[in-house]
């Protein structure tokens, strides 16, 4: 993974996970799950605007905005009974917050493999997070090209 492209917030989250024992990593993931922001009203009432993330086992929907200053805003929703997926979404939403299009597109696609969760959560489940990141980047690319 190319360290120089990793945004500071994502690097910080990774370091926080790696500093913990396996079991504590699950607790931190749960904290992320619990702090996933609610959708803003304009999306909460318009599920049709959201894209479904097929790589996740639970119904996850996301929407990406690129504002006039080329700053990316990520909105994700996942049900309460899918805390792992909520945790993944929350990590990405927090880690990508306030970044530019260029910075988001430069995030290495294998970031989810590097945050020390493959053992605690299993590689199979981590693929859901990679799918989420890939779709965010694709939407960002599409929307910034428009």
């Amino acid at each position: 993974m190319s360290e120089r492209h990793l945004p500071e917030a994502l690097a910080g989250i990774r370091d926080d996970f790696l500093a913990l024992e396996q079991n504590e990593r699950l607790q931190l993931l749960l904290e992320f799950a619990n702090s996933l922001p609610e959708l803003p009203e304009r999306y909460a009432n318009h599920p049709d605007l959201l894209e479904r993330v097929e790589e996740c086992q639970s119904p996850v929907f996301l929407f990406v905005e690129v504002d006039d200053a080329d700053i990316v805003h990520v909105f994700v929703t996942a049900p309460r009974e899918a805390p792992t997926t909520r945790g993944f979404a929350s990590i990405l939403a927090e880690g990508l917050k306030g970044l530019t299009v260029e910075q988001v597109l430069a995030v290495p696609p294998d970031y989810p493999l590097t945050i020390g969760l493959t053992e605690a959560v299993s590689p199979l489940r981590i693929r859901g997070m990679m799918g989420l990141l890939g779709r965010i980047q694709r939407q960002v690319a599409e929307k910034s090209a428009a």
Partner: protein, 298 residues
Amino acid sequence: MAVERDPSPAFAAFAHPERLVSTEWLAEHLGDPGLVVVESDEDVLLYETGHIEGAVKIDWHTDLNDPVTRDYVDGAGFAALVGGKGIGRDTTVVIYGDKNNWWAAYALWVFTLFGHEDVRLLDGGRAKWEAEGRPYTTEVPAPAAVEYPVVERDDSVERAYKEDVLAAIGTVPLVDVRSPEEYVGDRTTAPAYPEESALRAGHIPTARNVPWARAVAEDGTFKPLSELDAIYRDEIGLKEGDDVIAYCRIGERSSHTWFVLTHLLGFQNVRNYDGSWTEWGSAVRVPIVKGAEPGEAP
């Protein structure tokens, strides 16, 4: 030292009513000596958000699977795992979980490979417990470890390998418990699940398609015997004395059907092919049929 069985009339008609407990029964027996409640979910964090008081967690992937070989833990690994959860060889184990007990049934099946005698499912799983407004706690119990004997897994009775399935085509009824889309060959994974598990799509020749969820009623409990008979005996023609092999994508949904056929309907020789479509759909030169018809043995 087994805990008494649930005498619910709802279970009486099943071949092995002692394999089920109701939510009422469990609520009354929580904390009974000799009983350990186990939660097993698809979502590895769900237990942490809240679980039945005193329940321990066993994860299908991180606990029951070997981390290197595609196989289950061995006798020593299983003994260390369950002994550490306070489960002894004669403990009554009640397993429940999310998604209508998919993963709970899978865990129960793995317990069975190790010959653990008294292992039961909570009928209706997490969904029913929640629907009834029963409480959860986030407090994780710290059971005293007990000595569980090292018993080697016996894969010869309840487990089928790819070679067994190849030899069974045309002679042993095969039940494909995946979604119709997967069976027909439109996709390799359940709708809304990642499309990444197999290189080819379709089903094993002669297999009949009975999606696992057809055994489940609206409230998440198992359907009554008469309805199960109508599906598995009348509709796809399973007969007393039949050997049966069930499969899905990775063996979890077919554990659920294995439970139904073995413990509710009383079939004696039901095997779960845990390699399932993630193995078959990527294996070289095994026969595959596409479309809605079961197809012929090659």
